[in-house]
């Protein structure tokens, strides 16, 4: 059974239809909504498998189906679908993982009053994500990209009655929008210089060699597009939203903030890989390395179950970007696929724990769940070992190996490679800590004490995901690099990675050993007891626990600057008419902030502070609007005189 490229649109269309049906269903029709969503996604999964068969028939071909959306007179805007192994594999992954998470959600969200809407949003999300994957036009991709963002906003804020959830949703939306702005500018620039946004178009698309050869200045374009990926994939310095996004229901975290949406940035970079110049790749590689290290470091000192997993996601996404940067997008996609499965497994496992423990998320208050929750424990341990990179049996090991191998072979610098190695140790360490705290010892809280295994709707997906986590490693081993060859027919497997492999096995063992030595040998007795790591290095631990104190540093640097500027603006305001000057001063500060995105410490609290100061400006303006009509008429005459002078001086001719 194969699916022709002309029918590729069916894959996103079915979940979209399910979302519409779900919206129209009467309130409380949870079953209808859920079963439609699951049925639609099952069909999409089957279609994706068909598409995969089509794509595998000739892995090097890029099948396209383009059509004209509208005619501008001086050129038409065209959209289309694209089918190649990358698309097909991503589709299969998203639909399969998505399907399991949908099934899991039927158990997890059963008692929620708004479960019907939840499935609508999930379907909408799946449709947008699939549309993003099959798009052959960067414009269509951008549209879906924004829709994915919107769905994510809705889902993070699903429990809107929690103020943290609402704030997290806002933060996620605004932060990713900053990246999207760069992406949009990049696309505009690209359109400006090539006149098309189609990826492949019989030799005329932006990725076709002819056009690529004629494209100048593409470092900037590549970096602007990368901005979008930085936002969406939670790369440094825009990673701040991802951990906060854990306020959403756990299946959402699994689907969006672990398996699919955050991977969209990596997918985008892999997709437009030919556009990226070596200079752009250097930036990408270092960004990825910093993110991988940073995420792993912070994860070591968190105590919220989901937050640890979130920072590990940040770290793993850093690995993927690192792989792209060092030129091996194939390794990045391999890691993306394996990560999707084991991270979904871990998140669903965490969800299972949280559900059973009556929404207790603090690992210090859990413990001893190994006994009552056997299935969850076993599957979670499999996921944990995959993430930590326990050798040979688990897929995570092979994909991480591929990334490290590529980084090792990078000619420009070895720093990213070493950063990756350090992150390997840290990953093994914090995952050991997590498992030891949650599943071993004895219960330290009310929730954990009364926990028991969940229903089959929740454990079945866990089992399936665990099986995949183990099996998936087989498709990309150095001895049989099927995945790599499928994605990139010119892929050459280089032997001689044995030394490297041995090194990383040793490092994993080191991490596991250190974790067990600190947390496993002497198990925590009381939830209030100090963390062993905090005993050894209290200041470092506190620093990491506060997520490197971004907010405090911000207050010390930007806060003071802002106060000074505000004082100046106020002084000027007293002498100059209305709030115009204040507006300009504030605006200057705003652009200054945006330009200095690289200053990590300014970022986290920066959004709130900036939007607050803009709002203050607006309020000042609002007060200046006194409602006296004389002032209005005065403004006409005043504007007239100013404009005349502007034209005469500006030399309009």
């Amino acid at each position: 059974m194969s699916l022709s490229v002309q029918l590729l649109w069916l894959i996103p269309a079915l979940p979209l239809l399910a979302a519409v049906v779900g919206t129209l269903a009467p309130r409380g029709e949870f079953k209808l909504s859920a079963s439609t969503a699951i049925a639609a996604l099952t069909l999409s999964f089957l279609l994706s498998c068909g598409a995969l068969i089509t794509a595998l028939a000739d892995p090097s071909a890029h099948l396209t189906s383009n059509f004209t959306w509208f005619d501008l007179g001086h050129g038409a805007v065209r959209l289309g679908w694209l089918l190649d192994p990358l698309t097909a594999l991503m589709c299969v992954m998203v639909t399969f993982v998505g399907l399991l998470i949908f099934v899991f959600s039927t158990g997890y969200m059963r008692d929620d009053a708004n479960a019907k809407q939840f499935f609508c949003f999930l379907s909408l999300f799946a449709a947008a994500m699939l549309g993003l994957i099959i798009a052959n036009s960067l414009l269509l991709l951008f549209v879906c990209w924004e829709l994915v963002g919107l769905a994510s906003y809705l889902l993070i804020g699903f429990w809107f009655h929690k103020p943290e959830a609402a704030a997290a949703a806002k933060k996620a939306f605004i932060t990713t929008r900053i990246g999207d702005l760069g992406l949009l500018l990049g696309l505009l620039w690209l359109y400006d210089s090539t006149g098309t946004l189609l990826l492949y178009d019989e030799g005329q698309g932006v990725l076709d060699p002819v056009v690529l050869a004629g494209l100048g200045g593409s470092t900037a374009i590549g970096l602007l597009i990368f901005c979008g990926a930085v936002g969406k994939s939670g790369q440094f310095p825009l990673h701040v939203w991802l951990p906060d996004a854990m306020e959403g229901p756990t299946p959402v975290s699994a689907l969006i903030h672990a398996a699919t949406m955050v991977a969209a940035g990596v997918f985008l970079m892999a997709r437009v890989f030919p556009l990226l110049t070596p200079d752009a790749l250097i930036v990408i590689a270092f960004t990825g390395a910093i993110t991988a290290l940073l995420g792993a470091l912070i994860a070591c000192a968190q105590s919220d179950l989901k937050r640890i997993l979130a920072f590990s996601t940040v770290s793993q996404l850093g690995y993927m970007m690192l792989a792209i940067g060092v030129g091996s997008w194939v390794a990045a996609i391999f890691h993306l696929l394996t990560h999707a499965f084991f991270k979904a497994l871990l998140f669903l496992g965490a969800g299972s724990v949280i559900h059973a423990a009556h929404h207790e998320q603090d690992i210090r208050a859990l413990g001893g769940l190994r006994g009552p929750m056997k299935t969850t424990f076993v599957t979670f341990a499999i996921g944990m070992m995959a993430l930590a990179g326990v050798p040979f049996l688990f897929s995570g090991f092979w994909s991480k190996e591929a990334v490290l191998h590529a980084a090792h072979g990078w000619g420009f610098s070895q720093i990213p490679f070493y950063a990756g190695l350090v992150a390997v140790v840290l990953t093994a360490f914090y995952m050991t800590r997590l498992v030891a705290e949650v599943f071993f010892g004895h219960p330290r809280g009310n929730g954990a004490a009364h926990a028991h295994e969940n229903t089959a709707a929740m454990t079945l997906p866990l089992g399936l995901l665990a099986a995949c986590t183990i099996l998936l490693g087989a498709i990309g081993t150095p001895w049989w690099p099927w995945l790599q060859r499928t994605l990139d027919p010119e892929f050459l497997s280089e032997p001689g990675g044995a030394g490297l492999m041995a090194t990383s096995i040793v490092l994993v063992a080191l991490g596991l050993g250190a974790g067990w030595a600190l947390y496993g040998r002497k198990l925590r007795q009381k939830s209030a007891a100090a963390d062993p790591l905090a005993v050894i290095a209290p200041r470092a631990f506190a620093f990491l626990a506060a997520r490197m104190k971004f907010d405090k540093l911000y207050a010390a640097t930007f806060g003071r600057l802002s106060d000074t500027l505000a004082a100046c603006a106020d002084a000027l305001d007293r002498h100059v008419w209305d709030g115009v000057v204040r507006l300009l001063a504030r605006l200057g500060r705003f652009t200054g902030l945006v330009n200095r995105e690289a200053d990590e410490e300014g970022l986290n609290a920066g959004f709130d502070a900036t939007s607050e100061s803009i709002r203050a400006t607006a309020k000042a303006y609002s007060r200046a609007h006194t409602g006296d009509a004389h002032g209005y008429l005065l403004m006409i005459a005043f504007g007239f005189v100013v404009l005349v002078f502007a034209v005469l001086v500006g030399g309009g001719r």
Partner: protein, 188 residues
């Protein structure tokens, strides 16, 4: 030339005085004088019919409407004298108006304009009528609609709704004059 200067000075002086005086009735009367001055200007330029229309509409109709409006909107008790911010506002108005005037004067003086003193052209009423019914027939239709809507709008806005719901235009027909509606209708 001298006649022009004289007309201009009289018109401007009466307009300025009208805008400065505190007594509204005096202002209105002086404005009428200034409108008459404008009519004189039109006569001087040779546009007799326009002068006629100016007198008819402004001196005859609008000034009456203004007087009525002034009488109708008398405050129940005498207004308190000079609110504190009036002086400041006048100063700002003076500066802004002066700036606009400066822009105009600069532009007029520095722009090349035909400097001929051609003999005054004349235009007969018949010629005007032909123009109106000919080239500008479309404009005539539109201005008809415009005056209708002004009439309708002025009636509705100025009417006092004392009657229960269901009352309409016909109910306010009988009220005493003072609303500008009837006057605007015969303007053209």
């Amino acid at each position: 030339m001298m006649a022009l200067i004289l007309i201009a000075l009289v018109t401007l002086a009466s307009a300025a005085a009208a805008m400065l005086l505190r007594n509204l009735i005096h202002s209105a009367l002086l404005l009428t004088a200034s409108w008459a001055g404008l009519a004189a200007f039109y006569l001087w330029a040779g546009a007799e019919f326009v002068a006629f229309a100016q007198v008819l509409v402004y001196v005859g109709a609008i000034s009456m409407v203004v007087l009525f409006a002034v009488l109708l909107t008398r405050p129940p008790q005498p207004m308190p004298v000079t609110p504190p911010n009036t002086l400041g506002r006048a100063l700002v108005a003076l500066i802004t108006g002066g700036a606009v005037l400066g822009v105009f004067i600069g532009a007029i003086v520095s722009s090349p304009l035909p400097a001929t003193a051609a003999p005054a052209p004349t235009v007969s009423v018949k010629q005007l009528g032909l123009e109106l019914a000919g080239r500008h027939a479309g404009a005539l239709l539109i201005v008809g609609a415009l005056l209708t809507v002004a009439l309708l709008g002025a009636v509705v806005l100025a009417a006092t709704d004392r009657e229960p719901v269901g009352a309409s235009l016909d109910d306010v027909r009988g009220r005493p004059p003072g609303t500008p509606l009837q006057k605007s209708g015969d303007a053209p």
